[in-house]
Amino acid sequence: MQVFTYILLGFLVICAVSVSLSKNLLNSVLIFMSYSLIMSIIWILLESPDLAITEAAVGAGITSLLFFLTLKKIHAMIKTDKREEKEEEEEKDEQKDSTGTV
């Protein structure tokens, strides 16, 4: 059991570091979710099941849900068509501008 705890603690450190290192925001939210899951197992091993339930429900469930929602709101999850359209419009504007000045 001791070895299992150490493995989990190692995973915890790896997760914590890679949350800040990953470039993709969606990936970091997913890693953060797994961090909470590992933490809840560690709480069980530390004989505090109350905290384990709360950690699993709040940390892995609701916090990540709110993060996902925020990422979706700021269009960080997928490159939506809207943004592409906007970029195209900007390009058109620039072309217009250059032709206008010439």
């Binding site: 505090s48 109350d50 339930i53 709040v58 469930g61 849900l65 709110l66 929602l69 939506t80 501008d97």
Partner: protein, 323 residues
Amino acid sequence: MSRKIPQEQYEKTRSYRLKQWLDGSKDLYLGEVEMKPQKPYEETHKQRKKREKEKARAVERVYDTERNAEIRIFRKIYRVFSILFCVFLVLMLLIAVSYLPTIGSADKPANNEVSARYIESGLQETGAVNIVTGMILDYRAFDTLGESHVLFVATCTVLILLRRDEKKRKDGEPAEEEQDFLYEPKDDVILQTVAKILVPPIVIFGIYVILCGHLGPGGGFSGGAIIGAGLILYLNAFGFEKTERFFRASTYKKLSFTALACYTFSKCYSFYTGANHIESVIPLGTPGAILSSGLILVLNICVGVVVAGTMYTFYAMFRKGGY
């Protein structure tokens, strides 16, 4: 017997104005203060080009980031020092952790007369088999009172920040929810089937965790979070029309008000006794039975209701700014 005065006369009375002020139906500044809407700042393409050009020139000529030796040296030193600082911080924290007593050692400072009292006589004094719940909702119920109010205040803040006024929406603009659904499939069959199977067990498990908080691991907060997660899954699968049949903003207001008022009334004596305990008149019952341990069960349900509503409200606010 009171006389009924005509509407015109009634509109001049003080009580009518008070009512208007309470409802917010009359803007107090309207007609009193000079108001001019601010013009939105619009930059023409010429202006933008000019600004960008000037900025580029400033970066190029004044700062000269490419050939400026000072900046280069500063950046190198900055990088080195930031790494050094991080290593120093990690080392300091690790050294501090190494001084902590080991888990379960007998001579650590947490093992004092308080925890001894909790462990020895917690079962007789609170009637809760789960000592943690006995501590949280009986010995330290005053702290949990503040905690649940903090949650309520957090919801109010989210409401202030994220609420969208439907009245202020322009006519052509689609509603927030419709905007949200533009790029994803409506009525996803897989999600709906999974939700149909999963939501009832999740909600029942949440209710179990709340009701058995004094018997086993669990309690109001975790159970409420589980129920909130189940509601969110249901909302995701079936949309706001289905959930609005049983859960609206007014439902949340009533539920959380009732729960918080119930909690506060049962524990507000702490304000007068200085957080001291008062002997409860409610019988504790046999430990291990579901109807035991006095007020703890009621308080667990109150906290659970507040937390479940809060989680759901957070999600609804983030999703479309109201519900």
